[in-house]
Homo-oligomer: 355 residues x 2
């Protein structure tokens, strides 16, 4: 009886073993997500199943979509006149050809000053609320003006930018079409830019097509990777939902606390000691096109990122002087060695490239 | 007798069949290049064996290396003061983090104007003579000043740039150390920049380490790719020597003759009708880090480049009106379908990534 009870408890708490054949995995993942193997997430983790993106991006009631607003936003997003020098556009660091990032560890801005963080892709702007690696903007509209003001980025004044583009008749006309007024204000500029960014949602990616029934959209290795993502890889603890992000903040041991390149992340905004070194969970949509990775662009390739997660990520030890420092950051306990084999790492990478 | 003769001719002209085992290929390629299987190159092709890069880059007598000149060149290469706006440096389009290119199909320049060609990597500047995709600069020193002048690139005047940096005491000091004079001239600026660029020669790459005896530096697939590069892939017809370039010009059928994005390439410089649509053979050193590919950045991935070569590249047909056009470009007859298998394509790609 004791043995039976123990066995029952063990079996109940043991994660589902991985189905053996590629065919059985394929069959399972072509069925409704409600029938999939339960993902391996830790107790207390609030998660949503991963799935196909909706056909149209979600837009807030406060700034609904219109085609004219989207087109105006695209024009503004690509216009270097929004910068003091007249040389730097939003698109300079969020380049369509570079996964809406800039391919660099950290970006260059006004007078070629180096920033401190990797330019995040704006391709999934429609999802989640808080923006920037530290979530310091509450909305996309608020975010859109902040790089214009930043002395290291576009180093300008949105009011002056508005005055500057108000000299251009085509802009007056475009604002009239989008907002019914020729009076160009920073608020309207931000609304147009945010409207454009929300529309950049990736489409027709392999993963989505597979979920919608295109059985050939993913090969066996990619499906194995999908299964590892949801199970042994433990990825869904943080990267869940259709955007593959919990929209929360985690510490991966990369804050360089007390060292060169120190970045306290979310703590700078919240002032909560628990937030030291925490950064926003980025969406994994389009991740294969948006290297390098992490808030500081530390990893040039996806393989390196996966290898580091496989090793359990970084756990900096406090020095003697840091032992009693209440701000010394703790790496998220969700991270632990994964024991993925070389083949499993490759499968996981292959899956990520389908997003 | 006839059969014997035919057989003799056939066998004599048949390229060496590929050795079967990975081990035999490994053994062969670890020996001196003079013992390697003869590469598959067409009659009349002047080629040099591929091989390890020298430890130091070749420098011309007219502008020999010195450390102070190299350091000054690095400073100038990264200085946006050389541009009219004070925002664009040489490094803007030749970014160390992006394989000394910019990761884009074509580059943005002054006032965010779009250029017409892909920014080539400058990492192999020390090799070959003529510069730019069309070879319009005779030396690297001549080349260095041309983007400063180009109204679509830095849009400035090298004399004004020299005057501007002459206001900075640290530059005066650096020129004195490098050239023995505080008088800053465009000629000296170009010499310093060229000195820096020549020193960017890639080092310690897998292929070179393998040739020098590190047997583990290349795996079996990469060695298979090396063999395919030299044989069935026919790559050495154009990409030969330690720089993996014949320093010549070829037509790959990508000139878009008579269409949008037409680019006549080498013809613009030579005015020789045979040069219509010909572009310089780029070095393949560091090719894995310098996407996208071709003079117009047409291919975002190496795989696509190899697939296109495998299909024999492009052979645009003249329209009725173009039938008698003496300028209608002809795709290089060196290009022909290769019949590489999927596995061979992967091996070739793996090899290219060792360079």
């Amino acid at each position: 009886m004791l043995i039976e009870t123990l066995l029952f408890i063990c079996l109940k708490n043991m994660p589902n073993p991985m189905p053996q054949s590629p065919q059985s995995l394929r069959t399972m993942y072509l069925q409704d997500p409600s029938t999939w193997t339960k993902p391996w997430v830790d107790k207390g983790i609030i998660w949503e199943e991963i799935g196909a993106l909706p056909d149209t991006a979600p837009y807030p009631d406060s700034n609904p979509y219109s085609e004219s607003k989207f087109k105006l936003g695209e024009k503004l997003f690509n216009d270097p006149l929004l910068s003091k020098s007249g040389q730097i556009a939003c698109a300079s660091c969020h380049d369509k050809e570079l996964g809406f990032g800039d391919g660099r560890k950290v970006s260059y801005g006004h007078d070629r000053q180096l920033g401190e963080r990797n330019a995040p892709s704006v391709a999934m702007s429609a999802f989640g609320v808080e923006k920037f690696w530290d979530g310091r903007a509450q909305t996309l509209e608020e975010q859109a003006l902040m790089p214009i003001v930043d002395p290291k980025e576009m180093a300008y004044d949105p009011k002056k930018a508005a005055q500057r583009i108000a000299q251009i008749p085509a802009y007056k006309q475009a604002f009239k079409e989008a907002f019914g007024t020729e009076t160009i204000t920073p608020t309207l500029m931000a609304q147009a830019i945010a409207t454009y960014e929300r529309g950049l949602m990736p489409r027709n990616k392999q993963f989505d097509r597979f979920l919608k029934g295109s059985t050939k959209a993913m090969n066996d290795q990619e499906i194995q990777g999908l299964h590892l993502f949801r199970t042994k890889g433990r990825c869904m603890n943080c990267h869940n939902g259709v955007a593959f992000s919990d929209q929360s903040y985690h510490n991966l041991g990369l804050s360089f606390y007390g060292r060169k390149f120190e970045d306290l992340g979310r703590y700078n905004i919240s002032k909560d000691p628990q937030d030291v070194g925490r950064f926003k969970t980025p969406s994994l949509r389009g991740v294969g096109q948006s290297k390098p990775y992490m808030h500081n662009g530390l990893f040039p390739h996806l393989r390196g990122v996966i290898n580091s997660y496989n090793a359990g990520m970084f756990r900096p030890k406090p020095t003697n002087e840091q032992e009693t420092d209440p701000l010394f950051p703790t790496t998220d306990p969700l991270l632990r060695p994964l024991n993925l084999t070389e083949e499993e790492i490759r499968a996981l990478e292959a899956f990520l490239n389908t997003l």
